[in-house]
Amino acid sequence: MGSRNSDQAGLAARSPLRKTASHGLKIVVVGGFGVGKTTMVGSVSEIKPLSTEEVMTEASVGVDDNSRVGQKSTTTVAFDFGRITLDQRNVLYLFGAPGQDRFWYLWDQLFSGSLGAVVLVDTRRLQDSWYAIDRLEYHQMPFIVAVNRFEGPTPTLEQVRDALSVDAGIPLVDCDARQRESSKLVLITLVRYLTSLSGPQDAPHPPGSLAMSVPDPISDYSSSAEETAL
């Protein structure tokens, strides 16, 4: 990514955070290649999305098949991110990560402590999302599913839900990742869902256990659209 990184050298420094910023927060946008992860990050970010990379050594490869990386004991993975200043203290970082990737466990290392995840889906390639959803469930990272509409209204959200075997309690929404308002609504839907999971009772629940108490995702999406159409 050499040239791209030279272009962005100093870019972040030119859009400094407030001096009072103290809490960095993470949300991860997971999805297959070309589904619009960086587009979504860019549409709501206050900075042009930046790209960086992490080195993965053989030690962190764990049980993975090393023969697939040939003779190399070290590889890098690249990821994009953007930033949203929420208030005087809180800054939200949005990360785009490929979902169907044998380095997914690296994403788990990188993004541990994330508030939650958005699985961005292209209905023409639903299978690209299976692995990501499986891993998120395994790691008990709360997530919602956002369908980036490329080709009209079909399949319906319920058809997508069935195809992906997504629990009824997990919000599933349509979006246009190019549109700031639409991407914003996706994030709001996720955080509302997280709020419903954390609850004032402060008792931890696995995401699936609250299925019956979570509002219907479609009507919730509509109501949030009304409230935030300022």
């Binding site: 990514m1 050499g2 990184n5 962005q8 050298a9 100093g10 870019l11 972040a12 420094a13 400094p16 955070l17 407030r18 001096k19 910023a21 103290s22 809490h23 960095g24 927060l25 993470k26 290649f33 709501v44 930046l50 960086t52 990379e53 992490e54 080195v55 993965m56 050594t57 990386v69 590889t75 890098t76 993975v77 690249a78 991110f81 930033r83 929420l86 208030d87 809180n90 800054v91 939200l92 970082y93 490929p98 380095f103 990188l110 541990s112 402590g113 508030l115 914003k184 994030l187 709001i188 955080v191 997280l194 709020t195 999971l197 954390s198 609850g199 402060d202 931890p204 409230e227 935030t228």
Partner: protein, 117 residues
């Protein structure tokens, strides 16, 4: 966004920058830990250290420093560790911990912030 060999970058530079060191298991930095400079760069300082101290006069996340320096996150963390040990920077750590649902009040703050966008 696909995995690539680090050898396509400049491994010599990575080695030189870190002196061949690794961070080990004791990693005080998260991707979104916010780093703040506590002093001016000193004469003779490694150029990457100088750059970090200048960039972090306002808080800056580890991942932004990494993008700005065009260095992998783990390399940047080693440089930051040097500065932290020397008392040249302070670190504002993220709230959320691994495998723990985020705090309800904090989520409400996030929601309010997003709705104001």
């Amino acid at each position: 966004m696909s995995p690539r060999s680090v050898d396509r970058e400049s491994p010599d530079r990575l080695y030189t920058v870190t002196g061949g060191r690794t961070l080990g298991d004791d990693d005080p930095f998260d991707l979104v830990s916010l780093v703040v400079s506590e002093r001016e760069p000193a004469p003779g300082m490694q150029s990457e250290h100088v750059r970090i101290l200048r960039d972090c006069q306002s808080p800056m996340a580890v991942v932004e420093i990494s993008a700005g320096l065009a260095l992998p996150v783990s390399v940047v963390k080693i440089l930051l560790r040097d500065l932290l040990d020397a008392g040249s920077i302070t670190v504002r750590r993220p709230v959320a911990k691994r495998a723990q649902l985020p705090d309800h009040d904090m989520l409400k703050q996030v929601l309010v912030g997003l709705q104001k966008l």
